[in-house]
């Protein structure tokens, strides 16, 4: 029959907020499915036992005390960048220039160390490093921010482009300062004098960035939730019109918040040069400026949840490289596993926010559309329940 009812195969409906246990449940299911898919893939491609692979992953991240410290240090750096980006994101300012802002801070810190090594006392240099790197990061964010505030330019493009400028600038200075000449590298800065090396609390060189990250997590939570600035950021993120209506100076808040974002990125640059690496390379940030975007989004801008999401990313990252070495498979394989797990975790957000209603046969379809009316209509109430149950199954 040509005239047969031809409905779209399924349609998607936005759902009300799920109760916490349900949304957590969906996430857990997603992770389990991801692990199963990875397991199948592992066995199919390499013939290895998937449980061994997962065990190795865990070992890679937390196998030894040293490995755990490394994991925590990486976690703290990623977390810090994510925290830095969060205020901007919450304001709906898509700052994807974290990479460049960190590099700017790192460059400023390195410049202080290299140029002033023998000239002024160490504490002054450290102080200068702190100030200049914060300013450098903020400045790198200030340029796109002011463009957005004044001319309403697209911040996604401008922050991204600033990344490349920062990379090239760092490349230029590395050649200028290279040690030894012709190597194209800087090497350990102030290796002998340790000028400008930040303190290692309790002699542990990993601890400083961890402490800074912990402190800033708490401060950021308070800043976003309990301060007037945080409130303004949230209003502006909700609607620019509403912000204007409330008398918020939109341009001012954009510049202030984005500069704060950049300044925190600058702090990360300082930590990378002054504490973690003691050197400067163009790849010192290693794409974490972009990974942080994902961390921040996954946590829905909640600083405490961000600890978990950045832990997840770092765990996968370190675990994956452990697989690569101990199973002798190539790096791409471990990247595949990380990719699959992330795909499921991010993908399940869709099912938390939306409900998919599949096409029923036509009799049921009408019941389904009448669902809302059925509340007043008692005869259809029973059928309605039946379809509701089916829907639940469909989602799974």
């Amino acid at each position: 029959m040509e005239n047969k009812r031809r409905e779209p195969l399924f349609h998607i409906v936005k759902r009300d907020t799920l109760p916490a246990w349900q949304s957590v449940g969906i996430r857990i299911i997603a992770i389990l499915i991801a692990l199963v898919v990875c397991a199948i893939l592992t066995t199919a491609l390499t013939g290895d036992n998937p449980f061994d692979v997962y065990y190795t992953m865990f070992q890679g991240a937390f196998g030894t005390e040293r490995k755990t410290w490394f994991t925590l240090r990486d976690l703290s750096i990623l977390l810090l960048i994510s925290l830095a980006l969060t205020p901007a994101f919450k304001m709906c300012f898509w700052n994807i220039g974290g990479e460049g802002q960190v590099l700017a801070g790192a460059l400023a810190a390195a410049a202080c160390m290299i140029c002033l090594e023998d000239k002024i006392p160490d504490p002054v240099i450290v102080l200068l490093m702190i100030v200049t790197s914060i300013f450098a990061g903020a400045f790198w964010a200030f340029i796109p921010a002011i463009c957005k505030a004044v001319w309403n330019t697209n911040e996604t493009l401008s922050t991204l482009m600033m990344n490349y400028i920062a990379t090239q600038l760092v490349a230029f200075f590395i050649i200028k300062w290279e040690v030894p000449k012709g190597s194209g590298k800087i090497g350990m800065i102030c290796q002998d004098s340790h000028v400008g090396w930040l303190v290692d609390p309790m002699g542990n060189k990993f601890l400083l960035s961890i402490i800074v990250a912990a402190v800033i997590t708490v401060i950021m939570y308070i800043y976003l939730k309990y301060t007037k600035h945080g409130y303004e950021i949230a209003v502006l993120g909700g609607s620019v019109q509403t912000a204007r209506y409330a008398g918020i100076k939109v341009g001012k808040v954009i510049v202030r918040t984005v500069c704060l974002s950049g300044a925190l990125c600058g702090v990360v640059g300082l930590l990378l040069v002054g504490s973690v690496n003691h050197t400067l390379t163009t790849t010192i940030v290693g794409g974490q400026g972009f990974t942080a975007v994902m961390v921040s989004w996954l946590a829905q801008f909640n600083p405490f949840v961000m600890v978990l999401t950045s832990l997840l990313i770092i765990f996968l990252d370190r675990g994956a490289s452990a697989i690569a070495t101990s199973f002798g498979v190539n790096e791409s394989f471990s990247d595949m596993i990380t990719g699959i797990i992330l795909f499921f975790i991010i993908g399940c957000e869709f099912f938390i926010r939306y409900k998919v209603i599949f096409k029923k046969n036509s009799a049921e379809a009408t019941v389904n559309t009448a669902k809302a009316e059925a509340k007043e209509n008692s005869t259809e109430k029973i059928k309605d329940k039946a379809t509701a149950n089916e829907e639940k199954e469909d989602e799974e």
């Binding site: 007037k228 409130y231 509403t242 409330a246 008398g247 009448a370």
Partner: protein
């Protein structure tokens, strides 16, 4: 007209969005060689109904019959296949492409630009369009863009044309041109549906008028045999006995003096044209007008959210008779001068509230600056206020920490009005304060406005329901096309007179 063939027949079509019943069992016939005007108040479901023909929505229930056969329109492509073309209120064109490129965009087969161009020129000649096929969209005026949209539809051999408020953005001369084209199409046997709010245009152009009210089909009138009065009555429905109290103005004194206020929108349209009037304390000033006649810009200009042209003046007159010029000042500056304005904007969630925030956070939107420890927000008072508003105005909500976007329209409005009134304003500006509210909530809002009036507040009430405006306002300012069409006394005003003022400047025939 009996010999006319039915082009499209809608049978018991219903569509629901969540809790909103946009269309409920609408049955409507559209004939070839006829222009049908679709009439109804805002939110009566005109656009939704037409979008179902255009394939943007799929009806929940009911049938669409085209040329005697049931048609399933699941997407815009199906819609084209059946010869239906819709020109939307907001144009859907690609700015950087030329007219020709836009017109052939999305069609299957080879991009035969040359042949396409020839065909476009042919269509333009046939119906008398004025269009340069090689002009880029971004170089075009609004009316030219509309022409591209119409030609696009004709290029796809549409025999059923739907135009959603086509004249809203056009100058009178452009409207005349458009109408001539539409008449030619009608003579060519095409079925045309035009959605509009402007009754005199309906009279001038259409053969028949179909009226929708609150998603329901009310009836069809033959344009020649009806009057504007009859159409309005059908549109608004029987006037429910709204027992709206109207206390006498309390010691009215000039509070705000608006003089020569003009506003030009970003795309160069004159939204307000030399508007002058007074707002008095202890009085409700109603503002009537067809939607989009400058009411929004007027309130926003007074509230300091709208750029005004040079020469505009808005003067605030204090209790002691002191005068302050406040035109061009942002809301913050005005409030720092000690002038307390409250403003209930038309776009509740887009301007008055933040949808993702809970009621408490929304309560402090306009007052968060001055309270609490410097730097930190203070939520104790807003929480108390939120509780009060929820209790006193019977807001239906799971709690005061529920994001406001999850409340229904009426409850959102109560939250907004509650907050604005709580700030003890001197001037209360409201735009469509009862839109989407049921009778009881509406009456509650009227009551609140009257209480404010009794306190000596200068209340401005922009409304769409004439009965309400006539029952509530002390004076009514009628706007038409961005100009003041007349200011009349609310107690002696006649609905007919207001209707005429709304559609024609000065109200003369």
């Amino acid at each position: 007209m009996e010999d006319k063939k039915i082009a499209v027949s809608l049978r018991d079509v219903s569509k629901r969005f969540g809790k909103v019943q946009a269309n409920s069992k609408v049955s409507l016939d559209i004939y070839n060689g006829e222009i049908l005007a679709l009439l109804g108040e805002n939110g009566s479901g005109k656009t939704t109904l037409m979008n179902m023909l255009a394939g943007l929505y799929f009806p929940d229930e009911g049938q669409i019959v085209i040329n005697g056969q049931e048609a399933i329109i699941a997407n815009p492509r199906d819609s084209f296949k059946y010869g239906i073309g819709m020109v939307h209120q907001h144009f859907k064109l690609v700015d950087v492409l030329t007219a020709t490129e836009n017109i052939i965009l999305g069609l299957n087969g080879k991009l035969g630009k040359k042949q396409a161009r020839e065909k476009i020129v042919e269509i333009c000649d046939k119906y008398g369009f004025d269009l340069d096929p090689d002009k880029k969209i971004y170089d075009m005026s609004v009316s030219e863009k509309q022409t591209v949209e119409i030609v696009k539809v004709l290029y796809r051999n549409a025999s059923i044309l739907i135009l959603d408020e086509p004249t809203a953005v056009l100058t009178p001369q452009e409207v005349e041109k458009l109408f001539n084209v539409l008449r030619k199409m009608k003579a060519d046997g095409k079925a045309i549906v035009i959605i509009t709010h402007k009754l005199h245009e309906v009279e001038e152009l259409s053969d028949k008028v179909a009226v929708l009210r609150k998603g329901k089909y009310i009836g069809t009138l033959i344009t020649k045999e009806t009057t504007i009065q009859e159409m309005t009555d059908m549109m608004v429905g029987e006037s429910i006995n709204l027992d709206i109290e109207r206390p006498d103005p309390v010691n009215p004194k000039k509070r705000i003096e608006v003089k020569n206020l003009s506003v030009v929108s970003d795309d160069g349209l004159k939204k307000l044209d030399d508007v002058s009037f007074d707002i008095n304390s202890g009085e409700i000033l109603g503002i009537a007008g067809i939607s989009g006649c400058g009411q929004k810009e007027l309130l926003e200009a007074i509230a300091g959210l709208q750029k005004t042209c040079d020469g505009s003046s808005i003067t605030y007159i204090g209790d002691d008779g002191s005068k302050e010029e406040i035109v061009g000042m942002d809301p913050l500056k005005v409030s720092r001068m000690g002038i307390s304005f409250s403003f209930v904007p038309e776009d509740r969630l887009g301007m008055g509230l933040v949808g993702n925030m809970d009621i408490v956070n929304n309560m402090m939107l306009r007052s968060y600056r001055n309270k609490g420890i410097p730097g930190f927000v203070e939520r104790k008072e807003p929480r108390k206020l939120a509780e009060d508003v929820v209790n006193e105005l019977n807001v239906v909500t799971p709690g005061i920490t529920t994001p406001v976007r999850r409340l229904s329209g009426g409850n959102v409005q109560k939250v907004l009005v509650g907050r604005e009134i709580a700030s003890a304003p001197k001037v209360l500006l409201t735009a469509y304060a009862v839109r989407g509210l049921d009778i009881n909530s509406s009456l509650m809002i009227y009551d609140l406005l009257n209480q404010q009036k009794k306190k000596g507040v200068a209340v401005v009430f922009v409304g769409e329901d004439l009965d309400v405006l006539l029952a509530l306002s002390d004076r009514i300012l009628v706007m038409c096309g961005g100009k003041v069409s007349g200011i009349i006394d609310g107690r002696t005003a006649d609905k007919n007179k207001v209707g005429l003022l709304m559609t024609k400047l000065g109200g003369e025939e």
